[in-house]
């Protein structure tokens, strides 16, 4: 018989050796946890493969840089921070599994993660059930204010609405006809609902002057869609495209716009999901003059921003790596988390969540962001035009910081709702009926 059990059975001395070795190993491992407890674990939940990797990989890298910098300052509460990186691979159900793994198995104190709204909605039940804390850095569609999530990205009133206001103004070209072009999932659908209501009710645009189109993720054959935009734009009124196209589909979209000869002076395109990172893979000369709306641009010259970019280039050892808005959101969120933890002296999510509202942290464009009771932050809004070198020229900005509104004032179902986790302890409190909507 050649099986291993038979071999061991013939050598009783071997078994005693084995038992002794096992006992030693157990003893050693029992001593180790005492050392492991000296670090605070920080989870990073960003796609490193799949269709969203192009956008999310850089966020994983910036959190690693922030952790390294904090550890150089002595860590938090005297303990070093330890990063736990997982790859949910742009697979939305896998996001939920990986979140559960980070919280239950790795016992992280906080998670920095997610990009698409569908990934955030997938992990939400896990964070609520296991009562942990997620910092979400990406601009999104609003209509949400959860106790376990801090939204450091822009709500629609901090990005989409100011962009539409700019285009409708004489500075932006006095646009009268609007094309809302989006990828088919929850963020563009909800944002376009809000924008349609805003255009019709506030700017008094006729429904004939609004065209809404959706395309799937990764859509590459833009010929028909772009010629539809061209035809819509030749009715004699100034037309603009508001683009909520996400991910890989942006590249063939802009290429087709350039090929069909649509210049930014004819039909400008303002995008909400195209930043320095996405432009790095494009020939930007035909795109000069097209716009993006963000709360941060790499080209903004402030001492904080220049120091950050220098540190980033040293950390990545690549002087050409770009910085973008979601990275700044993580910088602000991380600083706020550290401040709150040091204030309450503990990383327990309940205590940190209580301490967070009211926390202030500097942003990279010269202001101070504050965390509001609805778990959103105050942010400045910038409109930038694409430059031939892939950076943005700021052509307009808000005078001060805009507070993020979780619930849109333009949708009938949400205009009476507010989020308040300080006094009302409710994410969707109806100010008219004076009732809390409860868990969604």
């Amino acid at each position: 018989m050649l099986n291993s059990i038979g071999v061991v059975a013939r050598r009783p001395r071997g078994r005693r050796w084995l038992a002794a070795a096992a006992g030693l190993a157990l003893g050693l491992t029992a001593a180790l946890p005492a050392q492991a407890q000296d670090t605070i674990k920080v989870g990073i939940l960003h796609s490193l493969s799949g269709t969203m990797a192009i956008s999310e990989t850089t966020l994983k890298d910036v959190v690693l840089m922030l952790i390294e910098e904090q550890n150089k300052k002595g860590g938090v509460l005297g303990k070093k921070l330890e990063a736990v990186v997982v790859d949910p691979a742009s697979n939305w159900p896998l996001f939920a599994e990986k979140a559960r793994e980070l919280i239950s198995k790795d016992k992280v104190a906080v998670v920095f993660g997610c990009w698409t709204s569908v990934s955030r909605k997938s992990v939400l039940p896990v964070f609520k059930e296991l009562n942990s804390l997620l910092f979400y850095p990406v601009q999104y569609e609003g209509e949400e204010s959860e106790r376990n999530v801090i939204y450091t990205g822009a709500a629609p009133n901090q990005q989409a609405i100011p962009a539409v206001d700019y285009l409708a103004s004489s500075e932006g070209g006095s646009v009268k006809r609007w094309v809302l072009e989006g990828t088919d999932y929850v963020y563009p659908r909800t944002t376009n609902k809000i924008l349609e209501a805003y255009l019709k009710d506030v700017l008094k645009v006729s429904p004939d002057d609004i065209m809404i189109n959706y395309t799937p993720f990764g859509f590459s054959d833009w010929q028909t869609e772009v010629s539809k935009i061209k035809a819509f734009g030749s009715a004699g009124k100034k037309t603009a495209v508001v683009s909520t196209i996400n991910g890989d589909a942006n590249v063939p979209f802009y290429k087709e716009l350039g090929n069909q000869g649509i210049k930014a002076t004819d039909i400008p395109v303002v995008a909400f999901s195209v930043g320095e990172e996405e432009l790095a893979g494009l020939d930007t000369k035909p795109l000069v003059g097209h716009l993006a709306a963000w709360n941060y641009f790499e080209s903004i010259k402030t001492p904080e921003n220049e120091a950050f970019i220098k540190a980033w280039h040293e950390f990545t050892k690549n002087p050409k790596r770009t910085t973008n808005d979601p990275m700044e959101a993580h910088v602000i969120g991380f600083a706020m988390w550290v401040k709150a933890v040091e204030k309450v002296g503990s990383t327990d999510p309940d205590k940190v969540i209580e301490a967070l509202p009211g926390t202030k942290a500097p942003n990279l464009t010269g202001g101070i962001s504050e965390l509001l009771p609805n778990h959103h932050i105050t942010k400045p809004v910038f409109i930038g035009e694409i430059r031939p070198d892939g950076q943005f020229d700021v052509v307009w900005k808000t005078k001060g910081l805009v507070p993020g509104a979780a619930w849109s004032a333009y949708l009938p179902g949400s205009k009476d709702l507010i989020g308040d986790w300080v006094t009302l302890k409710c994410g969707n409190y109806n100010t008219v009926t004076k009732k809390c909507g409860g868990a969604s």
Partner: protein, 536 residues
Amino acid sequence: MRFSRACLVALLLAFSFALGGTAARAASLEDALAHFTADDFSETITGINEVAASGDPRALTVVRALQDGQLMFSAEKKAVYVKDGSGKLTDAATGKPIVGTAPADVELVRLNNRLRGAIDAAMGGLTLLVKNPGTRYDAAQAVFKSRQAAVLPTLENAIAKEQEPGVKRVMMEARAAIILSSGKASDEDKLAAVDIIRQRADQDSLGLLSSLPPDTSAPVLKSAAAAIGGIKNRLVLWEAVQNAWYGISLGSVLLLAAIGLAITFGVMGVINMAHGEMVMIGAYVTFVVQETIRNHNPALFDYSLAIAIPLSFLVAGCIGIVIERTIIRFLYGRPLETLLATWGLSLILQQAVRSTFGPNNRDVGNPSWMSGAFDLGGITITYNRLWIVCFALAVFIALLALLRYTRFGLEMRAVTQNRPMAASMGIRTSRVDALTFGLGSGIAGMAGVALSQIDNVSPNLGQGYIIDSFMVVVFGGVGNLWGTLVGSFVLGIANKFLEPYAGAVLGKIAILVLIILFIQKRPRGMFALKGRAVEA
């Protein structure tokens, strides 16, 4: 005496008027330039319009400098400069180099979209009389778009001098556009203008006729409405032709992606889920070739694709042969295992490329002969799509020739029709298998070169084409090149005719449903090989 004194006074007055006139003109260019020192977008637009209207010979240089990002200003000195290629500053009003060093606060005059539109309009007015007919044509088109009444005298002057018929026609259209939008001309002039615009009959004409000023008289409005109706009818017809062209170009992309699969599936019955990754590898080969050219010899950029095509065929083909020899060979007759193995292989290849090149998109540029578009009748044909259609057909014909006229093609066809009989005739079927897989992968590599021009080059490139490739192969019939050709073009045209009505998402769903229904009727696809019945 009195007469000669009056003469003298008249002469003096005339002289002073002339002096004052030139002084006024020079002053107006300098006044206009002062607007650029305010660093305010509205001031800059006023500046552009005043510079263009000043009539100063330096106006064109100033506006061109602004367009090229070479116009600088100093708020301290209230002066405007033009920067030349070497970085030296010259005074904008006089053209003379500055004395001494530049002021410390010299900044670029900033632009935004509205300003760029104003610059285009100004350049149109300023370049109507230059020597180059191409520039005059573009200038006339710019005036047509901007319809500034102030340009009318220059335009009339240009029309009188114009010799080229094409340029003259566009200038007449520009004049018609100004007449219709300004409101001061007589009704006869306006009706004649409507007629000229109706003959232009493109989307810009529609826009112009739909936005006539509200004080236009009724007969002119009626004529414009009739013209709009006529143009729209003509455009509907051209739209159908445009959709057919889009369908053909989509079909050529599907053909390129699917033809390699049709061969491997047909000859070996192997379901190769890593086929999309072969396309991706071809695209990355193009990227590497272009990067090498950019770093060592940028002048060769226009030839980068010609170099990349044989290189990608070899690279992808060799990888295909390696895959066949190491993995596929052991899994013949086990389609499920082949499917799983090649699926795993596709993930490995994607991650390998991601680890080597990074997960971001890679910048693959279009050579100059592939950029832009031209108008044919009422449709726009982009050069890159045109070249891809030609390339797809060339690959198809080359493959047909390979199959029909070479020994290897003969062996491939024999093995496809009846493997045991072919083996007993002395054909080394395992060698044919390896080379066929290499051929299919190599063609996928060449498809990747073409696709890198229209899609973004990232590790996920293959995923977008694998489903479409299988769709084409299943629909067209396995192993038959003509089936793949007809199938890909039918699917492409059907998709592009559905898309304007149903939208992109529903259009794709409708095509998939149609294919499923078609397969119910003809399970072997459109052009099925009878030989497979013996094989099966």
